[in-house]
Symmetry: C2
DNA sequence: CGTCTATTTGAATGTACTCAAAAGCGGTGG
DNA sequence: CCACCGCTTTTGAGTACATTCAAATAGACG
């Protein structure tokens, strides 16, 4: 009988890590063993606001969004993730305090999840990973800052153009209202902006 | 002849660190030795956009702002720092890429600066500091996220109220136009918002 | 095919901005 | 001590970017 094959292969993640730090085969195996495969159906949640974010999720297949629900009940998309990206409420995960974000599957997903304890254990066994995850945090910080600066300095149309240029794959895959929410405008207004932008190009 | 006394005492910083990790006297001395005292006059810059941010600066005395200048030349304040706070263009400092922010002294300042190489060396000598600076980065990340979420979900008046509640000392110390810039509104509009808010309370 | 949700369109509205001018405030020198 | 200069804040009128609400149209899924 062949050995049980994990339902989600760690290859994509190991390749991703290899772009930043070099692991021996043994180390790669240790990493693979620490990951918890998880299948998520469309509309299911990987993180729920109010609860501590237990896992960082690496996307092997599918698409998710992280969003904030404001005091009036309006949702604001903060981050999307597709294949080869990590997603979580990083603030919650790192500080182990209740999440302010929800993370929801927009498509059926295959994830590789890593909980806080497993991460700490990995740091012991494979210290090189500290560098990898430090880089992830730096990237998240930098991306967040750039996004904040853009949102205060550019009008909606320019933000939309930038979004299209930066994430051409994403725009195809997302309902417009989610793009609108990410850009900080209403779906109606995005529709009007698009009319301008599309007929110009 | 008495030993030369550094022009800026590290006590405030050592106390700050002690709130997060416990250092032996020897370790504290190592930290103190790695710091570079720096005096900055009002209007002088600690960081200039376009150049790599060389130092993280701990404020012993004074007040500074970090700001972004957009494509139209408008400035947007991103962060203030007073005594017992760190300030830098963290994204630039961490990744050693050109800064997108300027950091300017709003008052005469006494700083303790730590350059990237000195920080790496400190990590070797006093590994506990990794925890301290990881906490600083987490805090910066969390604060940045909260600020971004507020700015998309709250109207200007609510943002002003929150600012007053959160940083009562700061409001006293800053010209209104800098508060306006931080809140993402014009000085004229802040003036009108204040009229509302002040007469209600 | 029908139902449900997403997108588009339009009209009225609102929040915040621009521009201009007046008033306040702080320092400096005669 | 007061007069003046420069800078900040206030006030007001007109405007712009984006929203709300409502209705029509288009798409997607069972």
């Amino acid at each position: 009988m062949p050995p049980a094959i994990p339902s989600v292969s760690p290859d994509l993640l190991l390749t991703n890590i290899a772009r930043h730090v070099l692991l021996t085969p043994a180390e790669a195996a240790t990493v693979a063993a620490a990951l918890r495969p998880r299948h998520l159906r469309r509309r299911q949640f990987a993180v729920q606001a109010g609860e501590v974010c237990q896992y960082e999720s690496f996307v092997v297949r599918g698409c998710l969004r992280a969003f904030y629900t404001d005091v009036n009940g309006f949702e604001h998309n903060v981050l999307f993730a597709i294949e080869d990206w990590w997603i979580a409420d990083l603030a919650s995960y790192l500080t182990q305090t209740p999440a302010t974000l929800d993370v929801e599957a927009l498509e059926d997903c295959e994830l590789l999840q890593l909980d806080r304890a497993a991460l700490e254990a990995l740091y012991e066994q494979v210290p090189k990973l500290e560098r990898y995850f430090r880089l992830m945090l730096q990237n998240a910080f930098v991306a967040q800052q750039q996004r904040a600066l853009q949102s205060i300095s550019l009008p909606a149309e320019a933000r939309y153009r930038q979004f299209r240029a930066k994430y051409p794959q994403l725009e195809q895959r997302l309902p417009q209202r989610h793009v609108a929410s990410y850009l900080g405008i209403t779906p109606e207004f995005l529709s009007k902006v698009r009319k301008q932008v599309l007929q110009e190009s």
